[in-house]
Symmetry: C2
Subunit: 295 residues, 2 copies
Amino acid sequence: MLQPSTVYLNGHFMSKDRASISPEDRGFYFADGVYEVIKYYKGKPFCFSEHMSRLKNSLSGIRINYTELEKLQGVCEALIGINQLNDNYAAVYIQITRGVAERTHRFPSDDVKPTLYARAFPMPPFIEEMRKGVCIMTREDIRWLLCNIKSIALLPNTLLFEEVAEQGAFECMLIRNGFVTEATHSNIMAVKSGGVYTHPDSNFVLPGITKSIVIKLCKEIDIKVTEKPIKAAEIYDYDEWFITGTGSEIVPVVKINDAIIGNGKPGPVTRLLQKAFLNITYEKLAGEKIVISDW
Amino acid sequence: MLQPSTVYLNGHFMSKDRASISPEDRGFYFADGVYEVIKYYKGKPFCFSEHMSRLKNSLSGIRINYTELEKLQGVCEALIGINQLNDNYAAVYIQITRGVAERTHRFPSDDVKPTLYARAFPMPPFIEEMRKGVCIMTREDIRWLLCNIKSIALLPNTLLFEEVAEQGAFECMLIRNGFVTEATHSNIMAVKSGGVYTHPDSNFVLPGITKSIVIKLCKEIDIKVTEKPIKAAEIYDYDEWFITGTGSEIVPVVKINDAIIGNGKPGPVTRLLQKAFLNITYEKLAGEKIVISDW
């Protein structure tokens, strides 16, 4: 796929090849930054204000004082437009770091300005995965204890994801102290006896925006939601599993490690939620009707 | 202090101002890299091969295949020389990331070359701190579970260090599950009844090179070393505490949080070890005799 070539760095639009970061950027030295990814459905952002509000929380969680958040909507729209993604399903990635300073663990002085980097890229739906469901694998959650902050310190996430992806898994479900937390770049939810279960927002999981939308949809269609950590030992007692995320939206899980979930096909509650989610995104925002039963 | 201006990036020496990293470097996106800091005592490296061996372990711990490790000694020496640090106490910082690639959690293909960045800078001894001792504070160890890898995912370290440094502390002692692990950028050791105690090498602590030298020195001067985690609840039962690191070398701790350690002055075992350490570094490598009793 041809990658869009115009990015935004510290107030300027430029060709991606010309964008350069100082090796003294604290993002490069210390993973001292946070990020967001916002999906655009044919030019229309989904949950933009929720993403901004989480970005604000992440920034305040690591004490970066970024004063130009209100400009970001314009930047994102421009990136989508300039890169001719207005008629596509796309996303904008935004990263803010503490800026460039002599390397020391201490924060730099207040006159050091944060670095803002943003880029747009195509983000087509995971059609096949949404239709058939995917296999995931479990690993120990080795991440830090402030997973509610969407930080760029993603080394554990990439290591764990790579490990299971090499074995064909779509995601890696994380287990901390005997409980399911989330996945390396998605939240994870389960279904038992018609009710939906997921880890409550806490320092162990990212407060997922798609997850929060799914919870809202559950309430609208009268599905009971229980927010409590699921015991790893009871993973296979659940009828359905699915992952949620800005990119994956709602992807059914039909196999965890070597065990088939349910009858090996996406379950009815997952299907209901997919239908409702695709309705408020592809259909409402982009005017494209995706009918699950036809898949 | 005037900062040296020549750095090394991917095979080339250049002015620091001209050094630039792609925002698509996985070090910037994912903290997907490792580092080392090697001290040079008037042009003579201390424990160079130990640092290289740890770097090798860190690289293999995150599966970066870096094939030019044997060139690094020459690069470091050149950086020290070009930046006129041969007559100083200085250090070389080396960072290796997985390289530049389109952002995805999966590792890039094998033809993506790792990024190598290195720079030299003055690293004078912490004379006052070594003489008088320092105050440190404790915080919960919120880092990931592979602290034996010297990764650049240092966001938790900087957050915790900043927090206590703002209150005047020299370092932040980390407590995980009720046990002392290490500090944000040092190892930590204690003394009781003449014996030295420290956390054993494990996934919870960096295998400190200065720490390993101190253990060796202890054996030479007949001090018993016990490598086991110290209970946080028993911190104040120890007679002496000190931190170790490439930069801090051996710095006595005379206060932890609000409590004075011992009589508030560096203890005798710490002094013995400082003397032995300064002998094999400043005196043996740089010909400079630093007499502790004269401080």
